[in-house]
């Protein structure tokens, strides 16, 4: 089989190789496909579905779908963007996302996606689900109200000697992140910051940090999420 071929994203012909994902090709070519549960360096798991694109008429997740010859992909279309907006809205009503009280506000990927898709109010009723805050750890606070269960923390954060700091317990809608308090007691400030940064929302907060970035200087204050991908081009 020929190794190099072309695929089409939104009418644009792009070079591709076997084994690459749709997302990789889009990123390499300055095309933005929104992602949330995906994180550079981690194995994609396609749980949030925000990167859904239409491949030859069928919705597929761009982060896990590998390319093959003849693929015609719809990405930045009103239909797909509306679908993505719906996914963002469901996340906003499932948890309790009160942005003004969150230290991650302005640097939050979920919030940034809501801005990008111009969400004013979710079309679904708020669930006001009952969730707890775990502030028992001296370095890290976990606010389950904000967790979107992407598992980026459990997949990506390890101690210097390779042990998992986070894990998931329970199943289905009761699924919850938990932190190994014994290990987390002794982590460095850098590690705590790394944990906070890998969280796309404000579920993992490094303690004694507060609202250090003034409004106007935060990551998504002036430019929508995905602007960087376009600059790469």
């Amino acid at each position: 089989m020929k190794d190099k071929f072309k695929i089409i994203i939104d009418g644009k012909e792009l070079p591709a190789r076997h084994g690459q994902t749709i997302l990789e090709i889009a990123n390499n070519n300055g095309i933005y496909i929104p992602t949330l549960c995906n994180f550079e360096g981690l194995k994609p798991q396609a749980s949030c579905r925000i990167c859904s694109v239409k491949v030859n008429g069928r919705p597929m997740t761009a982060c896990t779908t590998t390319v093959s010859p003849g693929m015609e992909i719809e990405n930045d279309t009103p239909e797909m963007n509306e679908l993505r907006k719906i996914i963002v809205e469901t996340m906003f009503v499932t948890g309790n996302h009160f942005c003004p009280s969150c230290e991650k506000s302005g640097n939050c990927e979920l919030q940034a996606l809501a801005y990008r898709f111009k969400m004013d109010v979710p079309r679904f009723p708020y669930s006001f689900s009952k969730r707890d805050i775990d502030a028992s750890n001296p370095k890290i606070m976990i606010d389950h109200n904000r967790c979107i269960k992407c598992k980026r923390c459990a997949r990506g954060i390890k101690t210097d000697d390779g042990k998992d700091l986070f894990a998931f317990k329970n199943r289905g809608e009761k699924i919850e992140i938990s932190i190994d308090n014994e290990l987390a007691k002794n982590i460095s400030d850098e590690k705590a910051q790394e944990a906070m940064d890998i969280c796309p929302v404000g579920a993992i907060i490094k303690k004694e940090r507060g609202f250090i970035d003034p409004i106007g200087t935060r990551k998504y204050d002036n430019k929508p999420i995905g602007s960087k991908v376009k600059e790469v081009q």
């Binding site: 309790n96 009160f98 003004p100 708020y126």
Partner: protein, 182 residues
């Protein structure tokens, strides 16, 4: 032609959204040229004296008084705007929604919290006080809301741009920098 009429109210909010409305600075003089105000805390008119074109709602619905006022606004205003996070999603007052019951909430506020001094264990029960609802409701779950301006508070520029757009019969097209949830 008479000027469009604007009414505003603060339900379960902190008045920050109204402060942000005043934060349009000297454009307030233009606003007074453009519109007349009816029922509003800004001019202290307590009851509707005529039908209004735009009603601006700050805060969510936390008690029976909020509910009554919001219903009255829907009846008297052609367009209703939810202004700020509390009106849109309940906001800070809605943090009680995840609690077990109103009783546990009131207990914590008036009897059990470490800073409370309440020797006779009195709960607020004057008949003048509106009854607290089972949870704090976003405004659009009570009446139809036509537009939503997020923010805590919504940026003054966002409020201004939205009002100017509506007064000119255009759709609101917010600028990215002014459209924030915090």
């Amino acid at each position: 032609m008479s000027k469009p009429i604007v009414a505003t109210t603060a339900l379960a909010g902190c008045f920050g959204c109204h402060m942000s409305l005043l934060d349009i600075d000297d454009r307030i003089l233009q606003l007074v040229e453009l519109v007349d105000f009816n029922k509003s805390p800004i001019n202290d008119i307590k009851t509707f004296t005529k039908k209004c074109d735009i009603g601006i709602i700050e805060g969510g619905v936390a008690n029976t008084e909020n509910y009554k006022v919001l219903k009255e606004f829907r009846k008297n205003c052609k367009i209703l705007i939810s202004l700020g996070e509390c009106a849109i999603m309940g906001g800070l007052p809605a943090m009680r929604n995840g609690k077990d019951s109103i009783e546990s909430c009131l207990k914590e506020a008036y009897q059990d919290s470490p800073s409370t001094i309440n020797k006779n264990n009195i709960m607020p029960n004057d008949e003048e006080l509106p009854m607290i609802l089972d949870k704090v409701y976003p405004c659009h779950e009570v009446v139809k809301i036509d537009y939503f301006l997020p923010g805590c508070p919504p940026r003054a520029d966002l409020i201004w741009d939205a009002l100017v757009a509506l007064l000119n019969g255009k759709e609101i097209d917010p600028e990215y920098k002014t459209y924030k949830f915090d």
